[in-house]
């Protein structure tokens, strides 16, 4: 494994963490928005659960971006300049999601809380949708090398991008529902447990159906990705499907804690399946990892920084998660 490969693996691990934790925060916003007029219990749990962690979970995305522009600068430039419309929408979505949530948490006036809540909820759907659309544009080879060389609209408004966007929103909602089911059980509110269990089962099934249907979309719209997914990445794809089915079974059997793990595995494996399917290309058809990698001195310095960073960040993150699960003394 080259240094560039190692950096890419760490970046992908960071993106996976973003999908599993940051994604669940977006999904919580989805359930917050759709909780209806009598959704105070749902919203209360959402607020309590993601309150302490969403900012830290959000940093995984920033981290992935700065690593990519340092290690693979031309990839970053090509993706950002071609996909500037969805990226701008993601950036706005991130601003509105975070501030909407923090603002709602800070005020007591119910009218104001509802308004900030709508901003928080809507942007929690818009943001992962466009992140998924960006992924779809990259995965279907619609980002050429260069300065805004790709189609400014078609690069993110296409079948694979729409599939990516819907899968992203669905996966976020699904992860959040599974995690929140287990969180609801700790509060001892049986009705809330059932409410999130129903949501987890429904959203999990829906994501499974979309993913299956998506294979047909990829076959015509992203043939290179399709060949990869049905070839070298097939074991990962099967792992994702199996973990998805297993978590539905665990949810049905009310085994909520192991269901968290299998749900995370199912979603994380989608990301890794994509990576394996696209390997060794970063920009499909035009730029490989080796071709895109920056100079060795930078890669070495970056890898050292990432290892030191992981040693500092991961235990701190674990401490935050453990604390956030602890009840008030």
């Amino acid at each position: 494994m080259t240094t560039a490969d190692a950096i890419l693996v760490l970046t992908w691990a960071g993106l996976t963490a973003y999908a599993l934790f940051g994604g669940a925060d977006f999904g919580a916003g989805f359930w917050d928005l759709t909780a209806g007029r009598r959704g105070d219990a749902v919203r209360g749990l959402v607020e309590e659960t993601i309150g302490p962690v969403w900012e830290a979970n959000h940093v995984w995305l920033i981290f992935a971006i700065v690593v990519v522009w340092t290690a693979f600068p031309r990839v970053f430039a090509a993706v950002a300049s071609t996909l500037y419309i969805p990226l701008t929408l993601v950036a706005i979505g991130i601003i509105l999601r975070g501030s909407g949530f923090a603002f709602r948490k800070s005020v007591t006036d119910s009218d104001l809380r509802r308004r900030f809540g709508v901003v928080f909820g809507l942007s929690s759907i818009v943001t992962p949708f466009f992140l998924g659309a960006i992924a779809g544009g990259v995965a279907s080879g619609r980002v050429p090398l260069g300065n805004a060389e790709g189609d400014p609209i078609g690069s993110w408004l296409n079948p694979t991008s729409i599939l990516g966007g819907v899968l992203a929103v669905g996966s976020c909602a699904y992860l959040a529902a599974v995690y929140l089911t287990a969180d609801a059980r700790r509060t001892g509110n049986g009705a809330l447990v059932d409410a999130f269990r129903r949501r987890a089962l429904a959203s999990g099934s829906a994501v499974g159906v979309v993913a299956l249907a998506g294979i047909a979309v990829l076959r015509t719209d992203a043939p290179t990705l399709f060949v990869g997914l049905t070839g070298p990445a097939l074991p990962v794809v099967i792992l994702s499907a199996a973990a998805g089915v297993a978590s539905l079974g665990l949810l049905a059997g009310r085994r909520f804690t192991p269901a968290r793990a299998t749900a995370g595995l199912a979603v994380g494996a989608i990301l890794w399946g994509w990576a394996v399917a696209q390997y060794p290309y970063l920009l499909v058809g035009s730029l490989t990892i080796d071709g895109a990698a920056g100079p060795p001195a930078t890669l070495d310095a970056l890898l050292i920084s990432l290892v030191i960073g992981a040693i500092l960040v991961v235990p701190s993150m674990v401490a935050l998660f453990m604390l956030s699960q602890r009840v008030r003394a």
Partner: protein
């Protein structure tokens, strides 16, 4: 530096929109970011005092400040994210060419910011869940992470001013040394100047809010204590900031002389160059300035006879816009000395009577000092950024060579104007509501 610019301009009719969007995003974020760097220290001081005999007023202060910090940190985290996007959305040629040179400090900054974000979660959430001692300790990584992330991200800006750590051969970057890029010649003065500024903005900003409270409620212990702690932090750093600022100007004299020439409106290289205070530099000469003979030569080189480089040593196309740079510098320095004087006023009164100055003009001035510190900090960035023009990477790459070729930039810019207006309104509204909901005296406020 003997690089010759070899990049070609991008076909981009809306370069202004890219520049305006970047300037707006940076100018907005940097205010909030200052509080992310400097404010945690105040919260920790208050909490430390509350645990060590300071009494209930410090406890109330710590909780009140922590609530405000929580809102500001959230807004800062999300308003900073768009900047990382904009590096690629707006300036892909900069990143494609130099990402591997200037990227490392951003990556390390990401790690430092990670630590800050994690521990701010632990600190705010752990208040009633951790022992007081442990809780105080969990605040330290917030301070360290905040200062470290400021340091690293400003090294990247310093690199734009003093690009080193690479060789440029026919437009291809080789011989990259990312550590040399981080430790470029501008790093020491620029990072120190900015971190001090962040603490001053936090100190004077928080003090201004309490000065406002003291005007309404002169008997409030909470506002009095809050004012004194926060104002002291800003005022103590004011003289240090002036010393660092002087060092920064000396640094420019040898390393970025055209920026200094723009700051001073010095059109021709001059021995015994005078220092221009105020004045309007237009049409190739300085008007209405108060000129101190030999002042600039003295300040820049500690030698009245020293030759100070003028703007005309480079072609007109390589000169920055003189008027805004000069005016911004005057504003920054004037406010800096004003803050110094305000601190001295309080110190004098305190020495004599252990109390705030009696004049009601003191609190009025202290209220103005909050926005004043912000204006000074922003003016400093105007000097740094406009003073580097027309270069994005000093004497290596022009702004118009770095910009995206994408169309429709004004749409993105105007959309973001609306977003920032909303965000500003929301932040102000929520902070006012939050503070109004906390009792001003007695008991822990949260």
């Amino acid at each position: 530096m003997d690089h010759v610019a070899i990049f070609s301009a991008v076909d981009q009719p809306d370069l202004w929109a890219a520049r305006a969007q970047m300037a707006m995003s940076l100018a907005w974020h940097i205010v909030i970011a200052c509080f992310g760097v400097g404010f945690p220290t105040l919260v920790l001081i208050a909490e430390y005092r509350s645990q060590h005999g300071g009494g209930a007023v410090y406890d109330a202060l710590a909780h009140r400040w922590a609530k405000v910090l929580g809102v500001l940190f959230a807004v800062g985290a999300v308003s900073g994210t768009i900047l990382s996007f904009e590096m690629g959305i707006l300036w892909p040629r900069l990143m494609a060419t130099f990402g591997s040179v200037l990227g490392l400090p951003f990556a390390i900054e990401g790690i430092a910011f990670f630590i800050e974000a994690i521990f701010i979660g632990i600190y705010l959430y752990g208040w009633d869940r951790l022992s007081p001692r442990v809780h105080l300790l969990t605040g330290l990584p917030i301070v360290v992470g905040g200062v470290a992330s400021a340091w690293f991200v400003v090294t990247a800006n310093a690199w734009l001013n003093q690009p080193v750590g690479f060789t440029l051969t026919n437009g291809v970057v080789t011989g990259v040394d990312p550590w040399a890029a981080i430790l470029n010649p501008a790093t020491p003065v620029e990072t120190t100047h900015m971190i001090l500024a962040a603490f001053m903005v936090s100190g004077f900003g928080v003090a201004a809010a309490h000065a406002w409270g003291l005007r309404r409620n002169p008997a409030s212990q909470l506002h009095r204590t809050g004012f004194l702690v926060a104002f002291a932090m800003g005022a103590i750093l004011a003289p240090a900031q002036i010393v660092v600022g002087d060092a920064a100007a000396q640094f420019l004299a040898t390393n970025q002389p055209i920026k200094l020439a723009a700051i001073e409106g010095l059109y021709h290289s001059t021995r015994n160059a005078p220092l221009s205070i105020g004045g309007i530099p237009v049409d190739g000469s300085m008007h209405f300035a108060l000129q101190i003979p030999d002042g600039l030569s003295l300040l820049a080189f500690r030698d009245p006879n020293a030759l100070v480089i003028g703007l005309d040593t480079v072609p007109a196309a390589d000169q920055p816009p003189v008027l805004p740079v000069h005016l911004a510098f005057q504003v920054m320095v004037a406010i800096g000395f004003g803050l110094l004087g305000l601190g001295a006023w309080l110190a004098w009164a305190w020495r004599r009577r252990r109390d705030l100055p009696r004049s009601r003009w003191f609190l009025r001035a202290a209220i103005a000092a909050g926005p004043g510190a912000v204006v000074a900090m922003e003016a400093g960035w105007v000097v740094t950024e406009l003073g580097r023009q027309p270069w994005i990477v000093y004497r290596v790459m022009r702004v118009e060579d770095a910009v995206t070729a994408a169309r429709g930039l004004p749409i993105g810019f105007f959309t973001l104007v609306a977003v920032y207006l909303l965000l500003t309104a929301g932040t102000v509204l929520v902070l006012r509501r939050t503070l109004a909901a906390i009792p001003e005296d007695g008991g822990p406020g949260a």
